[in-house]
Amino acid sequence: MTAVTDRRQLQQIAARAADARVNVELETEGMTLNIGPQHPATHGTLRIVARLDGEQVIAAEPVAGYMHRGYEKLSEVRTYAQATALMNRIDWLGSFANEVPFILAAERLMDVEAPPRATHIRTILFEMSRIAHLILFLGDMGVQLGAVTPVFFAFRDREFVLNQIEAATGGRFHPYFDRIGGLKDDLPKGWIADTKAVMEKVRTFCDEIEDVLMGAEIFETRTRGIGVIPPDVAQQYGLSGANLRASGVDWDLRRDNCVGLAYPELDWKVWTHPDGDSFARFWVRLQEVRESTKIIDQLCDGLPSGPIMAKVPRIIKVPAGEAWVSTENPLGEMGYYVVSQGDLTPFRVKIRSASFNNVSITPWLLRGVYVPDIITILASLYFILGDIDR
């Protein structure tokens, strides 16, 4: 399967999408369709209120907040170690990846650096949460469009990855493993060999998904040219991660602004796709899982020895200052703006979560599409409600 790369063809796709947005003047009696909060495509409890004209959406408004937990307020009365446990639960499918930027921000304020072994293990676990996260997406995208088989492959193979995360950290979903200055523990015996075997399985899974979905006519027609996001609109709304790369913007924080993780030493590739449609978003994520397995293989081979904890005081007081650290999480750019006033608790934490920005584009994107395409678009944008509501 090759991507559509011809510029003219792409412009036509974009123009068709734009036309659909304008041609809504054939007014019949309007209807309001309420999607969610309990629809499977909403990954939690996002509600979408769509005003319809026939089969076409005139206006769509996402309603968030059903799960708002107030983490920004709560973290003002918790120590950094306690706040890390909260951060863990923001994007619950890629939990470990949420801890990392928060810890890195605290480390920058304290001027502490984790030892190389800790940095490498952090990177391995970071990529493993990405794989566990995106495997679910790859299966889930099929099931949203009516292809039931892939999701069984996904749950089967994600289990192997979660088992490895559990073996190392003790938690399948919420590891809470990252500490200021390093990690809680070292890896268990035999973990590295097992992990490499699991990576082999994940690569097989990617091939299977490609066989099952890509090239299938129904999948192609339901995703190609659906939900096209031009690069400039994507940037204005702050889309990040695979959603942005699927619009042809070549930007990945792992490569472009890698803070405190081991990516610069590795050989891997950032994939982009010029189309900006639902198919492109699926395709980019599929390639990302493959790249992640390569990253983990390389890290397992070159794991340095040494301590896993830098010398940090027992009661952690973070010096006054402000730090912004963001990393390339499974859903996109996840960052924390930490303001400290030298206390045991942060003075203010601004949580910049990827899904909040990724979903804020939906009123623009859903205008003029047909009802079944709402589901395709929501599935391909891929968000987690905890990541929107925080």
Partner: protein, 252 residues
């Protein structure tokens, strides 16, 4: 590839700190200079963390103009986030590391010294209780990757700043959040209404003087739970993890 500049940027960040202290960050200094040219004296302050980060503060009336400069003159087309900070020190409860809970002590009438209510602004300073801040970035392309945090004071009497929505469409939801959480108004926003909270919610939860009810009902147990720690010099490295393990235990 176009990202060469950015990669070397990141690479120099950790191992060559001494060298960096000597080498000025030309990329970020150039950006500040452009802001200075285009905004004039509306650019109040700037802070460069060489090779890492950049923060500037602009005058309130230049808040939207700063966004315009960043996006349309400097090419920072990527909108990251927009939010606010309340610099008032929290008037509630015991600070985590103080021996006395000031609220309880004040109720009993034997407050030793009331908590300082002096407002201390962070980096790049400020004059008001509330500040808005936002982050935008220039993604790959000619100049490599850079990001910038832009701050501005919010006047205490009106609590109003200009909206960024005409420049960055993505600021819409972020301003709605700042509106309900801090009570700030953004002029020119297409529709300020609740995003997380139910409509009709009273108060602005992220203001420092908004009480966190769970803390009011049950005082913070942290200070009483912490046992005296053994002195630091016995075992250096394993200690940090062990100490945090016990903190976890106390929490549950």
């Amino acid at each position: 590839m176009a990202d060469d500049a950015a990669t070397t940027d990141a690479a120099t960040e950790t191992p060559e700190e001494e060298v960096e202290a000597v080498q000025p960050d030309e990329l970020r200094e150039g950006i500040v200079a452009r802001f200075g040219d285009l905004l004039g004296d509306a650019l109040v302050d700037s802070l460069i963390d060489p090779g890492v980060d950049l923060t500037i503060r602009v005058r309130t009336d230049a808040w939207r103009a700063a966004a315009d400069v960043a996006r349309n003159h400097l090419g920072a087309r990527y909108f990251c986030f927009l939010s606010a900070i309340d610099w008032l020190p929290s008037p509630y409860g015991r600070s985590m590391d103080s021996e006395v809970d000031t609220v309880l002590a004040a109720q009993a009438g034997d407050v030793a010294e009331p908590r300082s209510s002096e407002i201390v602004q962070g980096t790049t300073g400020g004059d008001t209780r509330f500040q808005v801040f936002a982050r935008v970035a220039h993604l790959n392309g000619d100049g490599g990757f850079w990001g910038i945090t832009i701050k501005a004071d919010v006047p205490d009497d009106s609590l109003t700043v200009e909206s960024w929505v005409p420049i960055y469409a993505g600021a819409d939801w972020h301003e709605r959040e700042a509106w309900e959480m801090f009570g700030l108004t953004f002029t020119g926003h297409p529709g300020l209404r609740n995003i997380y909270l139910p409509s009709g919610f009273e108060g602005h939860p992220l203001r420092k003087d908004y009480p966190l009810l769970s803390r009011m009902v049950k005082p913070w147990p942290g200070i009483v739970d912490v046992e005296p720690m053994p002195t630091d010099d016995e075992d250096g490295d394993g200690g940090g993890a062990a100490a945090e393990g016990s903190a976890e235990g106390g929490d549950s």
